[in-house]
Amino acid sequence: MSSANDEARDKQLRAQAEAVREDLQRLMREIEKAIVGHREVIEGILISLVCGGHVLLEGVPGLGKTLLVKSLGRVLNLHFSRIQFTPDLMPADIIGTNVVMEDESGRRHFEFQRGPIFAQIILADEINRATPKTQSALLEAMQEQSVTVAGIPHHLAPPFIVLATQNPIEMEGTYPLPEAQLDRFFLKLNVTYPSIQQLEEIVDRTTQHDHNELRNIVDGARIDAMKEFVRTVPVAGHVKNYAARLVLATHPDSPYAPDLAKRYVLYGSSPRGAQSLVLGGKMKALLDGRYSVSFDDIRSIAVPSLRHRIILNFEGAAAGIEQANIVAEVLEKTPEVVRA
């Protein structure tokens, strides 16, 4: 009897795992109807979505960042909100504010008018154009998934995901994101320029009548369920140890740090980097149809998980060192297993 129950439970678990993988693949296929290429970016966004993290998309204008996020909002059947960050954008413009309202009896009272943050998928477009004050308005929402106005907390409906974009080349009149805010992004994904085939596809899709209507694949509840299931995927001790050593290796004063990190890094990744590695690894394993996280899973997610958490020193910034290169160096120099 017990064995039968176990088998049934195993079957159910296998079905859940398979459903997660299937749903994510369906989501990817649906998004790819609107977005040409950028498969890794889409996968990263979905991983962040299922892991409950936020994504910072970086790329030059015109590469489809906004379209990607809008497409995601459409296929997820979630409340989508777009905030175009500008230098004069104020926190209240994002969070919302108390306004004086008059009721039928003529009495006036303050009523909280929700800002665009009250959505499930937030597109923070060109987030680095807003002032740090406005950028910091996102901090509490991103971490606590709630905002506090006039001492009154307002919870944001799950699932809540912020997809911010920033332009790396137009630095004039921009405000680089503070480290605290960068650390709150689960992944930082670079949207690269499409290949010639992809470009041709983009041209075809955008210069003709677009008949591809995106369908809702999953809803918020399903995403929450997937989020729960992903966390059950076991991670072996030595794999966790590897993730931890990778994070520590980004610190210049760590014994694990490679020479590049020691020379050009001012601050390394926070513990959120390790969380990101392990959760992302779990998601990668599930997408690969496995139930255990491998070193390869950790490695594959390391660059988007860690690069925005590494703060270069002056020498590194002056030398134009890419954080991704430092992470690559860390991956190369950190052994998977350390003999006791």
């Binding site: 678990l13 059950t232 076991p234 001790g237 496995r290 998977e336 297993v337």
Partner: protein, 522 residues
């Protein structure tokens, strides 16, 4: 078999395989370490030499100890199943399925996906090949083995003393303990020989003893070529053995000559006295039967002792025949002839001594080095010994290599000691014959040369009479002559020696050669 059991079995297989591979590697490493130690020992051997047999034994012992240590380490080593499964995951690209599942098995807390993870692990565990996960590897250190073997051979076989400076090669004062011991032994033997030679007044043996000591000290303290040194030691050992034999024989002969021969001389005197006593008995005239029988017994006894020649046999026959007068006459003649023979022998020896002294004086001249006796043609080389070739009948003994002792003889008629190598054996024999006395030939092996034959005039009587001074003075004179013959006499002292002999009345000063001729005629 459930998933957990499959996983355990896989872990056990890997553990067994890992232990075997580790044990093999340890064994190789132990052999390598043992070889290294052996090389180190061989290098040490170049500075502080060991017998080669002991070196081999020590090297084998070190190798054995290394292997034993490896066995102990191999038995004590424990392979970590988790590490092996991680290795299997990585080698076979199993995406950490095995290690994650094994960790879940080992964990006490339950996990919702435990069963699925174990099933996945069991599925891939069947394809685990332990030979791929834990491949048989040869320790990289083994590639140095040929070089080590070569180094070992070089260190043991090649003599670097010609190539490297002495400071690097080391002060090989005790290059070989065996040589050192041999050197000590040689020095000790040399000292002993020196003492004996000094006691016996053997100059040549004394010189040999000093050379032995010198060589012994060199063997102890100098760096020498081992092979040459061993050859020298062997040759010298042979030499020492021969010398010892020689000394022993000399000792025997000396016993004969200095003790027994003196006894012979004394007994010879006793024979004369006995003959005189018998003659006195015969001179009394008529003898009773008992006296006659007693007289016959005493003559018979004298005859059996060998102290009498055929003349006394004839006298005995006469006595038995009852011819007392005839016997008395024979005995009187015997006494007279014996006295004449002794006198003649004394004169002959003195003459020979003087002649030899003059001859040497003529041959050597004034610049002669008197440190060495005449006839010394060889020198003890550093690497080999050469026997001295001494000519002349008066030369001291001492050559043991290449020497021919056949027909060698002594010149002393009464001392009967063969103290040199004669070159003219016929002459020597004639000299022996001149003594006109019964001689006993003693033949013995002496050194490498051959057989030494020495003539002793007579065997001693069993009687032990007292020795009157006037009877042994002639012996002392002869010994003095022998000593003079053995030693170099400076030319300017020849006359003194001659004067000495003149003073004792053996040769008349004015007689010169004529005197000698007269004595020869006598």
């Amino acid at each position: 078999m459930d998933s957990e059991e499959i996983l355990h079995r896989t872990a056990r297989i890997l553990v067994r395989r890992a232990r075997w591979v580790r044990g093999r590697a340890l064994l190789f490493n132990a052999l390598f370490v043992g070889l290294c130690l052996w090389v180190a020992l061989a290098i040490w051997h170049r500075f502080v030499p060991l017998p080669i047999g002991r070196l081999m034994e020590a090297g084998l012992a070190l190798m054995g100890l290394s292997v034993l240590g490896a066995l102990v380490m191999g038995l004590r080593s424990r392979a970590d199943p988790m590490g092996l499964l991680i290795s299997a995951d990585r080698t076979l690209k199993l995406k950490e399925r095995l290690s994650t599942a094994y960790e879940l098995i080992q964990s006490s807390s339950s996990h919702p996906l435990r069963s699925i993870v174990l099933q996945e692990a069991a599925r891939v565990a069947r394809s685990v090949n332990p030979f791929r996960v834990v491949p048989t590897t040869t320790p990289r250190t083994l590639r140095w083995t040929p070089f080590l073997l070569l180094a070992l051979i070089l260190v043991l076989m090649v003599d670097f003393s010609d190539v490297l400076p002495t400071a690097l090669v080391g002060r090989d004062e005790r290059a070989n303990p065996e040589l050192f011991e041999q050197g000590k032994k040689l020095e000790r033997l040399g000292k002993r020989l020196e003492t004996e030679a000094r006691q016996r007044g053997l100059e040549r043996s004394l010189e040999a003893a000093r050379r032995m000591q010198n060589l012994g000290q060199r063997l102890q303290h100098e760096k020498v070529n081992e092979r040459d040194a061993m050859a020298r030691v062997n040759s010298l050992s042979e030499y020492v053995r021969n010398l010892e034999d020689e000394l022993r024989k000399m000792s025997v002969l000396e016993d004969v000559s200095l003790g027994k021969v003196r006894e012979v001389m004394v007994n010879q005197a006793n024979v004369t006295g006995e003959v005189q006593r018998l003659l006195a008995m015969l001179s009394r005239g008529k003898l009773s039967a008992g006296e006659l029988r007693h007289l016959q017994e005493r003559m018979q006894n004298l005859h059996q002792q060998g102290g009498l020649d055929e003349r006394l046999s004839e006298a005995l026959s006469q006595l038995r025949a009852g011819d007392l007068e005839g016997a008395r006459e024979i005995l009187e003649n015997f006494l007279l002839q014996d006295q004449l023979a002794q006198d003649f022998e004394h004169l002959k020896r003195a003459e020979r001594a003087l002649e030899r002294g003059f001859e040497q004086n003529l041959e050597m001249g004034d610049g002669t080095d008197f440190d060495y006796p005449s006839g010394e043609a060889g020198e003890y080389g550093d690497d080999e010994m050469e026997g001295d070739v001494r000519a002349g009948s008066g030369g001291p003994p001492g050559d043991f290599e290449g020497g021919d002792y056949l027909d060698a003889e002594g010149t002393g008629s009464n001392s009967s000691v063969g103290t040199g190598r004669g070159t003219d054996s016929e002459t020597s024999r004639s000299r022996i014959a001149e003594t006109n006395a019964p001689a006993t030939k003693i033949t013995g092996q002496s050194g490498e040369g051959g057989v030494r034959r020495t003539y002793v005039r007579a065997l001693p009587l069993k009687a032990d009479p007292s020795i009157p001074l006037e009877e042994v003075i002639a012996t002392y004179q002869r010994r003095a002559e022998e000593s003079l013959l053995r030693e170099e006499i400076p030319p300017r002292n020849r006359e003194i020696v001659k004067a000495y002999f003149l003073s004792i009345g053996l040769v008349e000063e004015s007689g010169g050669s004529e005197g000698k001729d007269e004595q020869r005629e006598r």
